[in-house]
């Protein structure tokens, strides 16, 4: 009757066998409890008998653990059989966030969120058909209105971070990554390993719902993804250490990540890119990239004589932030919108762009409009230089901007009803809601093909766009 735990390797555990296993486990639990109750019914027993009973408890626990290990080994062996059999190889999976039109996938994702107690965002009502495979949210009610603050809930630092992302208070890939790391450091500092659990496994479990929540507030950026991968690696390495040691080690390694990959890399890129800016240059930049403004301010400090053309676009108008920073440094600037980029391009000698991420097939992912500027530059024969830290390189590949993108709130392009219109032609929110055939699209990112980009400046040197997979391999062997 007693099934050997290692049996049935060829056919795998069927549902019946799984049920049997469960029954046995329950029996063992009950019998353990029964022994407990029997000991309690004899209160006046002496120490020796209690020792014996305690041993039996420990024995039972040991037995249970042994069984669990045996089961785990069986499952692992079975999986090994399957993969060596080679009938079903699991390759890279398609992520759920680009299958918003598949109801099965969405149901699974919703269940996962519910299990993690993360509120799910409501989909927008007026979706653009071309992007039906992506989530199209509308910024309506607060996402945290129904969240609990119990012990199993998400740390308030993460909640605050998520809201800052959702409202657009923290923007820019470096800023988002640094904010994420500092919030996670706070979580780690406040973390206490519960009894009978290991820090390395439990902390990871605790961070999973936090990351799902941040993803719901605003889809993760490439820089954040890279940081999370690094975090998971560091946590898994922290075995067999005392709690305080592990926590301090984690916090130190995360701070080091920010220091090396953002601060020091920025300095290296700035030194490298300064050599490319010569006196009398007219440099065109697009939007607001912390790295690019740093490069230009450093070049100005070194004494180069150049002026800058800032190209901006609606609705974020991020270029104004860059404009301010550059003017504060004392650099002479001009300002245009992206539709006038080709008008001003004959005056420009160089275009320097920042990137949100670099894809494995050499495409540059940046804020929407980067490809427009690169295209206009190519048409006028102006070289395009992209500056990007190496931690923003990712293994994704995409050939156009439709496959994977972030759809922002369409209301950012419209004017609120009955408010003062800066321009009378602008569409009202009321008009948009009432007309069925009218849709508004607010894209966040776009991809620039590698033939528009002359060179990418990273802290590892100046490389062509197509060398991204090489760098990824080098970095993965390093860490």
């Amino acid at each position: 009757m007693e099934r050997t735990a290692g049996g049935d390797q060829n056919s795998g555990l069927t549902a019946e066998q799984k049920k049997q296993l469960k029954k046995e486990r329950r029996k063992a639990k009950v019998s353990g409890k029964a022994t407990q109750s029997t000991t309690q019914s004899f209160p006046g027993t002496d120490a020796s008998s209690s020792n014996v009973l305690q041993k039996s408890k420990a024995e039972l626990r040991a037995e249970r653990r042994a069984k669990q290990e045996a089961d785990r080994a069986a499952k692992a062996a079975m999986k090994a059989e399957q993969t060596s059999g080679g009938s079903k190889l699991k390759g890279p999976q398609v992520p759920a966030n680009i299958q918003a039109d598949d109801p099965k996938v969405q149901k699974k994702a919703a269940k996962k969120l519910e299990k993690q107690q993360v509120p799910q965002r409501a989909e927008g009502q007026k979706k653009v058909a071309l992007f039906s495979h992506l989530h199209q949210y509308e910024r309506s009610l607060s996402i945290t209105s129904n969240m609990g603050f119990g012990n199993t809930g998400i740390h308030p630092a993460i909640i605050q971070l998520g809201l800052q992302y959702a409202e657009g208070l923290i923007t820019g890939s470096n800023a988002r990554c640094a904010a994420l790391i500092s919030a996670v450091c706070r979580v780690i500092k406040d973390y206490v390993t519960p009894q009978h659990k290991e820090l390395s496994r439990d902390l990871e479990m605790k961070l999973k719902p936090a990351i799902s929540y941040l993803n719901q507030c605003r889809p993760l950026s490439v820089s954040m993804g890279s940081a999370i991968k690094f975090m998971k690696l560091q946590i898994s390495v922290c075995r067999k250490m005392s709690d305080s040691e592990a926590k301090s080690r984690l916090v130190d390694s995360l701070r080091e990540f920010v220091r090396v990959n953002i601060v020091l890399a920025g300095k290296a890129i700035s030194d490298s890119a300064c050599t490319k800016i010569s006196d009398g240059d007219v440099v065109m930049i697009y939007g607001n990239s912390s790295l690019i403004t740093r490069v230009l301010c450093d070049a100005h400090k070194v004494g180069r004589n150049f002026r800058v053309v800032v190209v901006d676009s609606r609705p974020k108008l991020a270029g104004r932030g860059a404009l301010r920073r550059l003017r504060q440094a004392g650099i002479q600037c001009s300002y245009v919108l992206v539709s006038a980029a080709s008008y001003i391009m004959p005056e420009v000698t160089k275009v320097v762009l920042g990137a949100h991420g670099l894809l494995s097939n050499g495409y540059v992912m940046g804020s929407v409009g980067t490809s427009m500027v690169a295209m206009a530059a190519k048409a006028c024969g102006v070289p395009v230089i992209v500056c990007c830290e190496a931690y923003k390189f990712c293994e994704r590949v995409q050939a156009d901007s439709f496959v994977n993108n972030e759809i922002g709130d369409p209301r950012d392009l419209l004017v609120k009803t009955n408010s003062h219109k800066s321009n009378p032609s602008l569409l009202d929110e009321e008009d948009w809601k009432q007309m069925d055939s009218l849709k508004v699209l607010h894209l966040t990112y776009d991809v620039t093909p590698p033939d528009y980009v002359a060179m990418v400046v990273t802290e590892l040197g100046k490389i062509p766009c197509t060398s991204v997979p090489v760098v990824l391999r080098v970095r993965s062997t390093d860490t």
Binding site: S313, R314, Y343, S371, M375, L443
Partner: protein, 342 residues
């Protein structure tokens, strides 16, 4: 006359059709109200008025077009009355120049019927102009098929009529680029959506991203230059570049009165009359741009874009479709070479 010049200076017209209509009405008034003895005097009067009008608003080529068209009409009608064929008015061929010893027409004979006949011809031309939008829209069904995705920039009355006409028979999608900082795209989108055409409004920055899904780009233009290039609304050049990259045909709609004699040269100071920089208020308002830190920044807000003829696939006008390389030939039908310099 003075009132009209003031209106021109203050830009009290909306759109090139409106301006063309006003100009030709004004010229018609001049023909009827002034005293002239023969065709030469009439042409001198028109030329003089034309020079003043063009100098009042040099960036609007339609004024010059109308003046030259009227001059051509006068020449043609004069020659017809004289009994000769109209072709002789045009510059003779090489053969003619060598063989014929007949001198050029001197337009000096006073003719009584000239006034009425010229007025008739001018009225005919005005009718043709009024019908131009309908003629262009009637060709819409030829060019737009079902389930196509069409991209357009800004707001052009011709494009609006074109798309609405096609929507009567076919179902297709339109992506309208909003065209900051004037946001005419929003108006066009509203108008199209009210006729149940599937419209999506996108920002200027998303054009390259969207272009991979677009089948055709249909834009209107302010004027067509002699080499087939365009003087179009700001943002059209970026759209045309993106279309070339993705091998999407660019179709330009424009009536014949928009075709002008001038060529474009970005160098040599011609840029000043080609493009018009409007108030930077549209790009960055005084509230933000006037702060101390941003007061030194140069803000540009160009109104027009030059689109070279290589980027344009097809011109559709009220007389049919043409390739951009053929546009120069049509000039000889519209204007007389002696009128090139007013």
């Amino acid at each position: 006359m003075e009132q009209f010049l003031l209106d021109l200076k203050r830009e009290k017209y909306n759109g090139s059709y409106d301006l063309a209509y006003k100009t030709i009405n004004h010229l018609r008034k001049i023909i009827t109200q002034t005293r002239w003895a023969n065709a030469n005097e009439l042409m001198a009067i028109i030329r003089e008025a034309g020079k003043r009008m063009v100098s009042a608003q040099p960036s609007e080529y339609v004024i010059g077009n109308m003046v030259r068209r009227v001059l051509k009409i006068i020449r043609e009608e004069y020659v017809r009355i004289q009994g000769e064929s109209e072709e002789s008015v045009n510059k003779g061929s090489l053969h003619k120049m060598v063989t014929s010893d007949q001198d050029f027409q001197d337009f000096n004979t006073p003719l009584k019927e000239l006034k009425t006949i010229v007025m008739e011809a001018v009225n005919e031309y005005i009718d043709e102009m009024e019908a131009s939008i309908h003629n262009i829209a009637a060709q819409a069904v030829e060019h737009i098929h079902s389930d196509e995705v069409i991209l357009t920039v800004g707001k052009s009355r011709t494009v609006e009529a074109f798309l609405k006409q096609a929507a009567k028979k076919r179902k297709f999608h339109v992506i309208v680029v909003e065209g900051a900082p004037l946001y005419h795209g929003h108006e066009l989108a509203k108008s199209l959506a009210s006729k149940k055409i599937e419209t999506t409004v996108v920002t200027d920055s998303a054009v390259f991203a969207m272009m991979s899904r677009v089948n055709k780009v249909i834009i209107g233009t302010h004027s067509v230059l002699a080499n087939g290039g365009l003087k179009a609304v700001n943002g059209a050049h970026m759209v045309a570049l993106a279309a070339r990259q993705h091998a999407v045909p660019v179709i330009v709609l424009g009536a014949m009165f928009k075709l002008c004699l001038l060529h474009h040269s970005a160098l040599g100071g011609n840029e000043a009359s080609f493009n018009r920089l409007s108030s930077p208020q549209e790009v960055m308002d005084h509230y933000e741009g006037g702060t101390e830190i941003l007061s030194d920044v140069q803000i540009y807000c160009p109104t027009f874009d030059y689109v070279p003829p290589e980027l344009v696939t097809l011109f559709i006008s009220n007389i049919g479709g043409n390739a951009p390389s053929y546009m120069y030939r049509l000039l000889s039908e519209l204007y007389h070479p002696d009128d090139h310099e007013l």
